[in-house]
Symmetry: D2
Subunit: 384 residues, 4 copies
């Protein structure tokens, strides 16, 4: 019989931003229950967070190791089915590895790991175990992103020539890591974030979005990364020239010192017949600028939308959906895939549409290429 | 000990639009569980919907009467705590009445009832039982609506002079009720919708929004209601001049034949010092046009926002929230109030900020006044 | 041989807002020269303004009477061909009358006259003399307004059902007429403005725009006019329900106390197939919301635009044109018509597309109907 | 005595886009008359264009050489005061040189010349003759660009860190030069356009805008130029990383194959305190995103605007001005400077605010640096 899918969470304790977003997204559609968590390495904090989620006290664990060990002993249907990883980057790999080794599916935040070696290990482990592994490049969960992808993939814009993808934020304009900001603290710390700051945190989202919609791959890049805020240890801004495998060219930039910008991930893709514009902060709208026709605006929830966009839309037109719903689209797909595994059936193709460990690995290699390019005097650095 | 609050639902079966929105909003924050439902008067349909929600089969009831009777016998903590009413208008009153009479709190969709007499009875019953009764004028759940309200109430705009509130939709531009549209069918049917169509369905939202933000009350109105689509039985458009109790004047219009419009509830309020603009389809933004200063745009999630707006915001700036989150703000408040009742404590003032049975009654009287004015040759009809 | 058309101006001296706009619009395309003016009743001020326009000192007159008398004696080709009237409302009629009686064409600002009787006299005089008489409802000079008109007239939206036309301004939010504001002073003075303030000044523009685009006529109205600013003598705000001759209904409002609004004339027209939106402050864009297709945005200067829109556009797409260009479209048409009269030929139909004395008269009658309705307790006042 | 300033024009015959824009801008404010022209190298075409401008037939010349020679012999006040150059790039230098050598001031379109050597010669000639030389980087003529510049120069944004300037157009998405398009033909022809296509035509505008507003200079760049349309001879797209002399970094891109884009020059500048956004297609609005305050929108024509912005604005707020007015701002400044020379007085500082031959030379060197960088495998190319 159909049952709810059980989620365990590592991370997401006090001060976490993303843990609660994962939770909201996971439970929104009623397919997933949070059943356990190792929310903090501090047992008390973990217990308090567990209470906030109305968990049984014994399932608010003090470590992911304990959680995985104990959950494994619970009966199927009671134990967690998958692990949600909502920790800082340096604590992605070990819980993911342990979960996979113990037969649990994984939904991990991005970037996938602390470094590329870890990411490659996870790919191998996923391939070996056959388990489901999703990475929450959640912006590709928006229905209009999927509409854009379908339009581009079907050749609606003709051959793609130019892609401009941007991710300006301004929240790190000052040395916020010297305040009590938990978020700023770990995201700017090489020991916890990895070798990139801004480019790992949000530059990887920009790459993922561009490649997801266009179906193209960046093959060469030329990066100019900066640390603008004195005292900061990792890049807080990066401008990148990119070239794609079909001959298209473009720009990718990300910034966390674009003062006054909120979270303005956006993309423009130009082909031979027209161009599209999509803005994360106005996610239910897709602009299509045709070469020789009036501008077209597609809006989520309309009958004229593609079936894949409709599949990822909950509300009728004009009733805004947001980022939690984009997360929920990934979680719903993961839950559906797990459900079908439980039943021994094949999930519908729509349910397979979520970012995986391969996207995660690509993000890690992108970081490597950016760092390499930034140090180089040569114009172009290969990225494959 | 704190526990999750249990919700039962009446309505929300196949073809329902709003049932699932109530569900999403209720469960989003993890405080509420759906434990039972009478989703359809067809037992099979009710059971199927129950399965979709992973309910125990025995708690997918065939009628709200059965549900209330049986739930009442379950132990506290297991039984439903409150009833969510997501049925067409003519089935609001009876379940609400029965729930109240049996000690269950209620969250009802709007308009409150089929007619004003029913609404007045519910008010009496709420006053008599002391139970919680929320009405989902959900648009007032948006954080920027609350920010606007605070600004206006504190005199930020000076004395209010003019209010323009609009609710254009286009989905009933054709005789959709003659197709298989469940939504169009009951909403245009006097036997199920009540004596108003468009004005009851969405005109009441417009009134609620204007009065909620401004703190003013409409005292006189002059209505021109229309049925534009041949064969339709209830108004599908209405233009109304309104006057407020402080001397302000304004316009209120609602339409379901504004072809091409999605769900563009919006409001402009002008005082002596400036004016505000808010658009439901871009809900996280509040425009303030000052008399002699640059335009100001406030955005949800920023540090400069008021505490009441922050209380109703989940995500950091630039991460869009939508209508489900607005619903969830109401549900969270209701759950918090119920929780405090269980504990015998007083809820925080923020939690009391949701539309109640009195708002519902006011909506019903508004419908009466509109209908009366529409028939009258006199310019002004009193509305108190 | 073709020659430039000569313009004389009455009004437009120091403190005038609109005189210079008429001038800019008249000379923009190089078809019209300003050759004389009676810019002020103060001879010195008139002379100074004449110098600013590089006029011969002897053609900067002290009164329009003197100007008309003396210009009449100059040879054709030297004398003014038409009179531009840029005075306050109470000085529209006499100069217009005198000009017509002496064989000069007229371009007058709006509202046409101080009262309806004067307007009717002008109509008779125009009919008697056969002279050209344009009234600068300049907003209908924008190319996208003409595009909208063509779309609607050709049935592109199907039968029109609803029209919402708005003209919010905020510049009279305070008692500006008690400062040294020349503009506020006469526009709020019954002796100079006429019996209406806001509704005459800008309400008439709203009516003209709605009727011009839709091709419909308002036949009934219900007005609620207000004086919000204590000490003011004429209406500064008006909300109006309107009904059109084809059964369409709608709203028309104008305000000069909509604090923080600049000059936001805008219109929405809904038919059976879709709706349009146009905003004066973003004049080169026309939004078309289709019933069942994506939103369409037409932009001035594109190849796909109608010929009448192209005729009224100077620049390629993406190169903004503004209000001066809209004025210039009227002036160019007037100059073309005069040119053809000089040549004894028939002007092209595009050149006849400008507001005339009949539009001016209609505006005056609209003011009468608004005032009558505002005083009445009956809901509907006829307007024909 | 004050008199109008006389303009002669070279170029601007049939098929020209920019000639008429220069004319409109020059005459808009009534300070300048077009008195002569060499509109085409085809005498008949030149004569026809002259007639359209109502010129005396003898002043519609067959060549700029003839024009300069003959105009020189006319008396001061009759002869042209300055030459407007509205020809393709390869015919900028010779007329400019001849005009300067014969004592005429010059207003030239951009890019300044066909190559840098010519530009350097013009600089020398201007320095030698002391004549006025304006280059129509007209986008810096907009009032909101001047407001932005003032804000940035006064440190309103703090130290500047990042500049993103973009100029996407789509009109050359197809091989338009193989049709009868006069514009496409010469702009894509190395013999007439120079060594750059898109980057010379519009990339130079982007540079000028960024440097004008920021007061910074690009010192290093890394360019990736492309020819996307098969058969085209010059770049139709370019992506450039740039570094500024204060340590700021940024992106500059221009494209004429951004299908569906009209003329979307836009800029974002981020400092330590906030960022600004300005869009040429919505020119009367300036967005300021503050680090920790609501977004601020400044609009042309308001009292709160800076004096330099007001000086370049004609109409009250909410009455749109466009590109012709931006051109007119340059022409008005040039006319004012010439007027003051005639009077032997010093022009007001506001009148000196127009792009000069030095800006033109900088544009030419920018083209050189882009071409050099594009060929290089080194990441950075110096640009001084």
């Amino acid at each position: 019989m159909k049952r709810k899918i059980n989620m365990g969470m590592v991370g997401g304790g006090p001060g976490s931003f993303i843990g609660i977003v994962h939770f909201n997204g996971a439970v929104l559609d009623g397919q997933i229950d949070l059943v356990c968590g190792a929310f903090s390495s501090d047992p008390k904090k973990s217990r308090i967070t567990g209470e906030q989620y109305y968990l049984s006290p014994e399932r608010a664990y003090s470590s992911y190791q304990e959680m995985i060990e104990k959950e494994k002993k619970l009966p199927e249907g009671v134990q967690m089915d998958f692990l949600c990883i909502a920790t800082p980057n340096h604590v992605h790999y070990e819980p993911a590895k342990l979960a996979l080794e113990n037969g649990f599916h994984v939904v991990s935040d991005k970037p996938l790991t602390y470094n590329t070696e870890e990411a490659e290990n996870l790919v191998k482990l996923v391939e070996k175990t056959g388990l489901i592994f999703a990475v929450t490049h959640a912006y590709t969960g928006y229905p209009m992103v999927k509409e854009a992808r379908k339009l581009v993939w079907e050749g609606g814009l003709g051959k793609i020539r130019k892609i401009v993808v941007e991710y300006p934020q301004g929240w790190l304009t000052t040395l916020l890591e010297k305040t009590d900001s938990v978020q700023a603290s770990w995201r700017t710390d090489p020991a916890r974030s990895g070798k990139a700051g801004c480019m790992g945190d949000i530059g990887t989202h920009a790459l993922n979005l561009a490649e997801y919609i266009s179906g193209l791959k960046v093959t060469e890049l030329c990066a100019d990364l900066s640390i603008f805020v004195p005292g900061r240890k990792l890049d807080d801004d990066g401008n990148v020239l990119v070239r794609y495998d079909n001959g298209a060219k473009g720009i990718l930039f990300a910034s966390q010192i674009a003062a006054g910008e909120e979270n303005d991930l956006n993309i423009r893709i130009y082909g031979e017949k027209g161009g599209i514009r999509w803005y994360q902060m106005e996610p239910n709208t897709l602009y299509i600028n045709w070469l020789d026709k009036p501008i077209e605006i597609r809006r989520a929830g309309n009958d004229y939308m593609s079936s894949i966009a409709k599949y990822n839309t909950r509300l009728p037109f004009g009733h805004p959906e947001g980022l939690i719903e984009a997360f929920a689209n990934i979680y719903r797909n993961v839950a559906t895939c797990i459900q079908h595994r439980l039943e021994g059936t094949k999930p519908p193709p729509e349910a397979l549409d979520f970012p995986t460990v391969y996207d995660g690995l690509r993000g890690m290699k992108f970081i490597d290429a950016l760092i390499e390019s930034n140090k180089s005097n040569h114009k172009w650095t290969r990225f494959v």
